[in-house]
């Protein structure tokens, strides 16, 4: 059990949902809005009253008696911890006077309830009742989805028959209503694709653009493939009676969300994994109107590249904690793996983190792909699938990274093979960083990069993301 004395600036920042909350917390503390600052004798609980925009002050507390701090506040914010809780910690950090007091009654009761919950969670697995998967509900959902897919198919047929360039305002309204209906059929992903196609097609009618038209065509085709494959998938499941989720990318392609227990149920996990993060960035997803905290990880044992994604819809950004870069070796008892081909999404509940031993990095280099043509072959196998992502991340060894005399674009050299590096939408600046990277990092290492295809040039390029050297990982983003 800790006390309020563990509060540091770093702790506050790590607990805050985002940087804006930290800034607001500091402002509240600086403005002197807190009154009746109190603490328990053991300093495990601090609390006070904070003047807000309302008539009555908010009652805010920070409880350090458990394994993790618990924050409570009577303000209406759904952000957690709220800015008042953060401000309370800043008050403590600023060494303002806190009067010793008894624990307020309501907090004492909440502590009791929390203790009971913790007791229950600590019970051995066999004593707990495992959640049952409801087959009847799953079947009902599949049937509903099948109905919705008919609507989506109708949309695609219509678009391709009339032409993507010919979406008028009237037809756009009809399509948007159609897309809205898909929400009733548990098909949020096809719905998002439809909305994107309709909005973009509408813009195109007033400002024609070939590249954008091609992009929408590709999206239409993707939607069409999703619909066809999903229909076949659902039909087969209903026919066989095996209606529960299985190892298939179509489950997410339709917009379903995996629970970790489901992944465990179908055996999509690895025991005792050791992974290390190679890169971290925040991508903005226009179509889903969300920011995605994206990290690539490498399995020390197998060299497999996986990714984590923390999806934060723009509307709910204040309430979902953003992730950040992670350093060191992560030892994970149960690493859950989502269905997919390369770069599968991974998740875990708890990890033990230690500093990476120096020999880790040379080891990682040996796990990297040793041939550019082999790497490209694997990437092509993945990229050619309509439902796959537009790029594939791989760790590729290199003898050197040099720069074209003509226009300074970077080129990876390995054995007698070469491949050009180029920025992509996800990592627009990493090629610029490589151009100013010291030569010592551009020899005899491994490059984590995203392989992607540019149709207009009929070529495969690699977008650099990180460089693994003998001494460590040089992040380029």
């Amino acid at each position: 059990m800790a006390s309020a004395n563990i509060i540091t600036e770093e702790l506050i920042r790590s607990l805050a949902p985002n940087a804006a909350a930290v800034s607001n917390g500091k402002k509240i503390s600086a403005s002197g809005d807190f009154r009746a600052l109190s603490k328990t004798a053991d300093e495990m609980l601090i609390f006070g009253e904070c003047m807000g925009s309302g008539k009555n002050p908010y009652h805010t507390s920070a409880d350090f008696s458990g394994d993790t701090p618990v924050f409570r506040c009577s303000c209406p914010s759904r952000q957690f911890p709220c800015k008042h809780s953060l401000a309370l910690m800043y008050e403590w950090l600023a060494k303002k006077p806190f009067t010793v007091s008894e624990i307020p009654e309501d907090i004492a009761q909440k502590r009791e309830k929390a203790a009971k919950r913790a007791e229950k969670a600590a019970m051995p697995a066999d004593e707990k009742k495992a959640p049952k998967q409801n087959k009847a509900a799953a079947e009902k959902k599949l049937k509903k989805q099948a109905e919705g897919l008919e609507l989506a198919e109708q949309f695609v047929t219509d678009m391709l028959t009339r032409g993507i360039s010919s979406v008028s305002r009237a037809s756009a309204e009809q399509y948007k209503n159609l897309a809205k209906q898909l929400g009733d059929y548990y098909l949020p992903e096809p719905q998002a694709i439809m909305n994107e196609i309709v909005s973009a097609a509408q813009r195109l009618s007033s400002a024609p653009d070939d590249t954008e038209t091609n992009r929408l065509t590709t999206l239409c085709i993707k939607l069409s493939s999703t619909v066809k494959k999903s229909k076949a998938y659902i039909a087969s499941k209903l026919e066989s009676g095996d209606v529960l989720p299985e190892d298939s990318i179509l489950y997410e392609a339709m917009g379903n969300v995996w629970k970790l227990s489901q992944l465990k149920e179908i055996g999509l996990y690895k025991d005792n994994a050791a992974i290390i993060q190679l890169s971290f960035t925040v991508l903005h997803d226009d179509m889903h109107k969300a920011d995605i905290d994206t990290a690539y990880w490498v399995d020390i044992e197998t060299g497999e590249i996986s990714k984590t994604e923390n999806i934060r819809p723009l509307k709910a950004q204040k309430y979902i904690k953003s992730e950040d870069s992670a350093f060191g070796m992560h030892f994970i008892k149960e690493l859950y793996r989502y269905p997919g081909g390369m770069n599968r999404r991974i998740r875990w509940e708890a990890a033990e983190i230690t500093d990476a031993a120096p020999e880790t990095y040379p080891l990682l280099i040996t796990k990297a792909e040793g041939s550019i043509s082999e790497a490209v072959k694997k990437a092509k196998n993945e990229l050619k699938n309509t439902l796959s992502d537009e790029s594939v991340a791989m760790l590729l060894r290199f003898d050197s990274i040099e720069f074209a005399v003509s226009d300074s674009h970077p080129v990876v050299k390995l054995g007698g093979e070469t491949i050009a590096l180029r920025a992509n939408e996800n990592y627009p600046d990493t090629c610029d960083v490589i151009k100013i990277t010291s030569r010592e990092y551009l020899e005899n290492g491994a490059l984590l990069g995203e392989l992607f295809y540019i149709p207009e040039e009929k070529r495969i390029y690699m977008c650099p993301v990180s460089i693994v050297t003998e001494k460590g990982i040089l992040r380029l983003c």
Binding site: C220, S325, K458, K471
Partner: protein, 614 residues
């Protein structure tokens, strides 16, 4: 094998999707593309599948369905056909520096990169941790990218970057220059000059002479050339052969370097101006030549003739214009003295004369950055010898950059005027965590909007007690300057080194208390509120109420009473003080405007209520 027909077919399939497959039977281009694709299809199974699917487009009842299958297959085939080898001639990286792997989180790094990309004012408030990150390639890349825009804040950050990276940044800046962009700014050239100075002279020359290079880049290159006397001939040639802004930039550079030809050019410009000041002012200002000095002398004599006792504004305007020409001229000591005489004759308010003295001293200080600084140092010494009180800021500045302890001796004894200016000079000294030293800028008084950035002079690692004592002494300062002084002292505290802060805050607090007892002002109370520890709470009694009441008396205005909340007084002390104030204000009811009086009474009562509830 030439697979162009495959790509052509793919293009036609996409076109069909765009225009709609309802008319696919009339799409002759698609049909031709399919026909042309047949030979390829015969040679390859995967292509044959595509060929046969495309055939169904014209016969199927669901052409949209077939079209989507064809496009999906064509896309997959296109990916498998994609090439990757790059046969470009390559060379190794030229960068061989101490770039480090810094384990910094994305959130911290992106916060700094955002400030850089926006050229934010916050670039002047970087922490030690931020500065450590300058060694990271990502931060450097963000800087190189932002260097196209540039502003004073990025300039300040550029100094830190150059401090860390030195000339290694030059190839990066050069590579980032886009010589095809007509609208390119010349800021990157400015930064190259900051990093490498005259070492890149050949590079500046090549850009300045390149007729295809963007205009602003050429102008910046010319500016960079203007620091090297051997460039005179090339600059003269550019002046004679170029047009427009390039010609003007070359002209200004020539005038600044002052080769023998410059005199004649300047004389011609003045002659052609027909007495119109604005047509030659910039040229004369930049030129250190004999002709320029003579013109300044003549202007000063003209100004001295104006009967300023009758027309002070005309005199003031004239002197302002003439003094603006003093830059770069070391032989016009007499003009400085004449300006002082004129100002003395005005007999006008102190503020007006204070400004003009500051302006004279400002020019002298800026000239200390000149290549011929010895001449300007002599000028300052001579002027100070003749008129110590009038040129104390410039002399003090010169001594400060030589030896701060020696500089203090300049200020000992009474100062009838300009002590305020000097105090401002001292308060402008700031600590640079990148250079681990205090610095000042070559100017007298705050920077004006749109003015060129002033160079930095680095002084000492720790702020000397002797200077702190001067800054905190009030005996010679007029009370009306208290507000400005406190505002300056607040900024000074923010800009001081962390290890000096306690000592500096302690000294300045004493000053603030003294001022509060004599004539409390907003910034005075603000300073006390920000820095007074609880142990000195007793000394805060009466300050807030005295400030509020004096505002009522002097400005006839009601001011907010909430400032008392920020003082480290107990709640009961605050209530007592405000109650006393309330009675005092109530007793003075008849002396003020009714609304003002009512507002203040209401404000005090409301504040008392708030405190009583707490």
């Amino acid at each position: 094998m030439n697979i162009t027909p495959f790509y052509e077919l793919r293009t036609r399939l996409y076109a069909s999707a765009a225009s709609g497959c309802f008319a696919v039977n009339e799409d002759f281009r698609l049909k031709r593309a399919i026909e042309a694709f047949e030979p390829l299809a015969q040679a390859n199974k995967a292509f044959m599948k595509l060929y046969s699917d495309c055939g169904k487009l014209f016969t199927s009842e669901k052409p949209a369905d077939v079209l989507s299958d064809c496009i999906a297959l064509a896309d997959a085939l296109a990916v498998t056909q994609g090439s990757f080898a790059d046969s470009s001639e390559t060379k190794q990286s030229e960068i061989n520096t101490e770039m480090k792997i810094i384990p910094v989180t994305y959130s911290i790094l992106s916060g700094l990169c955002e400030k850089i990309e926006k050229c934010s004012t916050k670039l002047e408030e970087l922490t030690d941790d931020d500065i450590r990150l300058v060694s990271d390639g990502r931060v450097l890349s963000a800087f190189v990218k932002a260097s196209e825009k540039g502003n004073v804040y990025l300039d300040s950050f550029a100094e830190i970057v150059i401090d860390k990276w030195g000339e290694a940044i030059v190839p990066m800046l050069k590579n980032s220059l886009d010589l095809t962009d007509e609208k390119a700014s010349g800021t990157r050239i400015d930064y190259i000059y900051m990093a490498a100075g005259e070492k890149e002279n050949d590079y500046y020359i090549s850009l300045a002479k390149d007729p295809d290079a963007p205009q602003n880049i050429r102008i910046s290159a010319i500016k960079a050339m203007s620091h090297t006397p051997t460039n005179s001939d090339i600059l003269l040639e550019l002046y004679r052969t170029e047009k427009g802004k390039i010609k003007k930039a070359a002209l200004m550079a020539v005038l600044e370097l002052d080769p023998p030809e410059a005199e004649e050019i300047l004389a011609k410009i003045i002659e052609n101006a027909n007495g119109e000041f604005d047509k030659y002012a910039d040229h004369v200002r930049i030129s250190p030549s004999q002709t320029a000095e003579e013109l300044v002398r003549a202007k000063m004599n003209e100004t001295a003739q104006i009967p300023c006792d009758k027309d002070i504004l005309l005199s003031a305007l004239s002197i302002e214009r003439t003094v603006s020409l003093f830059k770069n001229k070391s032989g016009i000591g007499d003009c400085y003295l004449k300006a002082v005489d004129i100002i003395k004759k005005w007999g006008a308010g102190e503020q007006l004369t204070e400004n003009y003295y500051a302006s004279l001293n400002d020019t002298l200080i800026k000239n200390l950055q000149n290549q011929d600084k010895e001449k300007f140092r002599c000028l300052i010494s001579e002027l100070y010898k003749k008129c110590p009180n009038d040129f104390v800021p410039a002399y003090f500045f010169m001594k400060l950059i030589d030896d701060p302890d020696d500089a203090v001796s300049v200020l000992s004894g009474s100062l009838e005027k300009l002590h305020y200016t000097v105090t401002r000079l001292l308060a402008d000294i700031r600590y640079s965590s990148a250079h681990k030293a205090y610095f000042t800028e070559y100017r007298c008084g705050p920077a004006e909007n749109g003015s060129e950035p002033a160079g930095k002079a680095f002084l000492f690692e720790s702020f000397p007690d002797s200077l702190l004592e001067v800054m905190c002494s009030l005996s010679d300062i007029n009370e009306k300057f208290y507000e400005d002084i406190c505002s300056s002292l607040l900024e000074f505290i923010k800009g001081c080194a962390p290890y000096d802060r306690e000592r500096i805050v302690s000294a300045i607090l004493e000053t603030a208390f003294d001022m509060a007892n004599k004539c409390p002002s907003y910034y005075c109370v603000d300073l006390i509120a920000k820095y007074c520890p609880e142990s000195m709470a007793d000394r805060c009694r009466g300050i807030a109420s005295e400030y509020i009441y004096s505002t009522l008396i002097t400005k006839r205005a009601s001011t907010s009473c909430s400032i008392i909340n920020r003082l480290p007084l107990s709640c009961s002390d605050k209530i007592d003080e405000l109650t006393e104030l309330l009675n005092r204000v109530a007793a003075a009811k008849g002396d003020f405007n009714k609304n003002t009086h009512n507002d203040l009474m209401k404000g005090i009562k409301s504040q008392i209520d708030f405190l009583m509830k707490g």
